[in-house]
Structures are given as C-alpha cells and as structure tokens.
Amino acid sequence: RVTISLDDVYWRDFLLQVQQFLKACSKAQILLAPQKFAFVCRKFVEVAIAQQQSKRTIRALQSALLKFQPSPEHLTPLHADFMQVCLVSKCYHAALPILQQEILEVNPAASALVPRDLLLYFYYAGMVYVGLKKYREAIDSFQLCITAPATALSAIVLEAYKKYVLVCLIVHGQVVPLPKYASSLQRHMKAAAQPYSDFATAYVEKDLKQVNLCFTANYAIFEKDTNVGLVKQCIACIAKKKIQRLTLIYLTLSLADIAENAKLSSAQEAETHVLRMIEAGEIRASIDQMNGMVCFHEDSAVQDGSDMVQKLDSHIAQVTSLTARLQRLHESISSDPAYLQKISVQDRQSRYDAEEMGFDVLNEKAAFSSKAMSFDM
C-alpha cells in the first residue's frame, strides 16, 4: 500500500501526463526500458486508485499494454494492473478485449515480469469473469493461478483457491480436483481455507438446512473475504442442481413432484424455476400448464445444421494449432543445450554401469532417453 502525500495539483498533473504519455509513447522506445515502464504504469494505477480516478486509466493502460506486449500471447505486468483498474472502476466490460487474449508465453527479460504479476492477473481475471457470470472461464482462470509452481503458499493463491471452491460449487455442484501437475501445496491450501472445505462438503449433500447452518456459522469469515455474494449464489443454485439431476432420471414429471424433490414451496415455484432454467439454457424441457407436467428433452437437439459444422471446424482448427505449438515446444526443448547436457550425463552414467554389469548398452540407452523425454514433456 502506497500513501501519496502529494498536493492535489501534483497528482492531477501526474495522472494527466502519464495518461497522455501512455497513449503517445513509441513502442520501440518503451521496449528499451521495460522495468522503468512497468514501474511507471504501476505507480499510475496506484495513484489513480488512491484518488478514485481509476476509470481514466483504462484506455491509456490498454493502449500501453498492446504496445508493450511482444505478441498478443505474451503476459506483461500491465495485464495485472489493467484487470485491477477494471475491477476497481466496475468497468467489467472494458476488460473483455484483454481477457480474450490467449496467454501462452512469458518473457521476463523483455517485459520485467515477476511471478506475482502472473498470479495477480489470473486472480483478477477470475474475478472479472465471476462478475460477468462466465463461471467456467472463471474456474479456468483461478485454476491457472492455483496451479502455478511454488514452494510456499502465497496469499493471492489462497484467495484464488477460496473463490475457486465456490465457483466450482456453482458450476459443478462439487469441487473439481486439481490436475496432477498442481503443486504439492494443495493440502496447505485446503487447511488454510477450512471453512470453504466444510461448506463444500455440506454442499455436496445438497441438504439446504445443513448448507445454511454452515453458512451462518462461517458468515464472519466469508464476509471478511468478501465472498458472501458468491456463497449466496451457491445456495441459490441448490434447487437448480436438484432439478438438473431429475432430468437424468425422468422423461416427464409433474410440477408438484418437482417441487417436492427440490424442496420448493409449491408447484408454482417449481414452474418459475424450470422456466428460468429453460431461459438460461440450463435444461431443455417443455412445460404443459394444462396438465401441470414437465417433459424433459434429450440434450442433443437436431443440430446437423451449418452452425454445428462451423463449430466442429473451429474446434479442430484449435486442436491442430495447439498440437503444432506443442511440437515446436518439444523440438526446442530437445535441442536445448542444458537438456542435452543432462541427458548426456545420465547417458554416460548408464553406459558405465552397463559395461560394468555387461548389459545390452543400446537397449539401456534407448529406455533411458525415452524415459527422460516423457519426464520432460
């Protein structure tokens, strides 16, 4: 936290100057002094937030970010700053163009990036997605923050984990286990966020009473973490999840039965719920008001049209480009001098041992290098 002890005149001038500078600066020039540039941007954001002028930084930062990036796939410290001002100024829509960038590369030397910037970016991005109700993208973003390699638990990662748990409950009804490449700090995360783990356990049972008990018991903690809104959204989803489960079991069901199953107060309320879910595209069904019945439809509608073909095409194109990228990455690692050195040391060692023991050297070598390859990938 920085306390600015400047006169009004000074901060006003500073903000204006940096605003104009960021819009007018030349790309070649700023790339020559990345650290100083990142520092100026950070101070710009801090002053603006302290003076409640965060909105004015948005367009300036965006144009600076686009100039500073070596490519649209590179992460820079400005990404985290940009997300922060979008959140503080409540201009969530302004964050979308940058959020849509697919971040695949980092270049710490060229962009003065430190790990904290990466953690902050994905944490803030997750929060923006939650605000825009794009929960699946929020889960991806939080996951990227949580699974960053580390040896000690960071406060940012812990906060991201808490929100990750809650958003998982909203989307999947349970906490999705983290992928295998996640760091070994998972146990520490769970322990540090115990109220959230308790809430998740209560939630899986979908017992409204238990969940509410857990909510009121831990309310103070949720409030301190500013997660009360998210928890309330989780609780509001319980009826939805129950109705979704019904679609897997029944073809048709009466509104009264739905109300009973989902613990709703009346058939009327059940109808409202089902209608809202149909509107949101969460289930496919049709309500028969005359008989008070709901008919659940198969998930796969007639989708042989041209838009389906287009979707398939774009997915395949994505996978193809991703595979090509992985291939290039594989090749670049295989020809990396550090890697080759490591391989050759292990090779020499295995050859020495093999000669000693009289094993088949060639087989041993092949097994070793293939094991090392898969380990590195």
């Binding site: 201009c91 049709s286 028969d288 008001q289 007639v302």
Partner: protein
C-alpha cells in the same frame, strides 16, 4: 467545446432508430469522458440514461447493474427518468416481467426517449415470445399475457399470427417452436479442410 466523436456517433444511432451497437458506443463515450482533464470548465458527461436503456434493449442486465453502480449519485438525483428506468431494470433482474411492462407503459417518458422505451418494450416482448414457444407446450392465456406484457385479447391475436393453436375452451394456447433448420454448406473448401485434417492425423 468540440463534441466527442462518440457523442456524435450516439446522436446518429438515436436518430436512425436502429439501436444495435448503441451500448458499445456508450461504453466508449463513458471512457472518453473519464479522460478529460479535471480542470476542464464544462466537462462532457456520459449519457447515463441512453447507456442504461441501450443495455436494457439487449437485455444485458449484468452490465446494466454495474453501470448503475458506477453512475455518480449526482447524476442519479438530477434525472428522475433515470431512476424510473432503473426501477424497470430491477423488475427485469428479478424476472418480474408484468411489473416491468407495467412500469414501461405507465410512466410518462419525455419525447426524446420514447423511441428507446419502445425499443425496450418490443425487445422484451420478442424475447418473451421466444421463451414461451421454447418452454411451453401449453400455457394459459392469462399467464402468457403476463409474460408478454399484453392484454389477453392482444395475446390471442399475436398467437394467431404466430400460428399457435387455441384450444376449444379459449383459455389455453399451444405454442409452436418455429425452428429453422439450415442445411450444412458443403463445398470444395470443405473438402480441402477434410483433406488437411487427414494429413494432420496421419503425420
């Protein structure tokens, strides 16, 4: 003082009567206004009412809610119509369509904003029609009238136009889903793509 380009664009859209893309331009105007030097004598103010109405035409309630949070209290206090529009937005947020339609119809809107309000009402009705034909295989006339914001006779008339069946008691409508099936567009380009896929999978 020179008019900001975004403000001119908004004027053009409002005059044309076609409000698609209005929300984006309003967003650009808001950000442009925020960059004005604090010492400016008569700073340009964002058009809060038009902005909110643009979101409601597209039924973008999340962005409408954030816009309301961003609107300075002075702007809210100065514009009674803005507050009335926000009431409509609140009804829409809690999915209270009858109240929203009622508010839109009964408030005395000033002449400049009447086209916007009309656009909001027609977009609401269109969405409701889509929802009802999607979600209901039979619905009572009164319930449908509530959702669509029309009177029961108007609802029956609209149903006839859409080809929905009315049962013999005159109280139940059978909506029909008007789904258009587009046959896929297959041509030489597609053959090229498929060839590329096979080559890729073989490599």
């Amino acid at each position: 003082m020179a008019e900001l380009s975004a403000a001119l664009e908004i004027k053009r859209i409002l005059n044309s009567g076609n409000f698609t893309g209005l929300a984006k331009v309003c967003e650009a105007l808001e950000l442009e206004c925020s960059e004005a030097p604090p010492t400016a004598v008569a700073p340009m103010e964002p058009l809060w009412f038009v902005h909110l109405a643009a979101y409601l035409v597209e039924s973008d309630l999340d962005n409408a809610r954030f816009l309301w949070k961003r609107t300075p209290p002075a702007a809210k206090a100065a514009n009674a119509e803005l507050q009335q529009l926000w009431e409509v937005a609140r009804y829409l947020w809690s999915k209270n369509y009858p109240a929203a339609h009622h508010a839109l119809a009964t408030v005395q809107w000033s002449p400049e904003v009447v086209p916007l309000i009309a656009a909001i009402r027609s977009s609401l009705t269109q969405r409701a029609v889509q929802l009802v034909s999607n979600a209901y295989s039979s619905i009572s006339v009164n319930h449908a009238a509530n959702l669509l914001g029309l009177s029961p006779p108007e609802t029956i008339q609209l149903a006839e136009e859409l080809g929905w069946r009315l049962d013999h008691s005159g109280a139940m409508l059978m909506p029909r889903l008007s789904q258009q099936w587009h046959p896929p567009d297959l041509d030489l380009q597609h053959l090229n793509k498929l060839t590329n896929y096979v080559i890729f999978l073989d490599s």
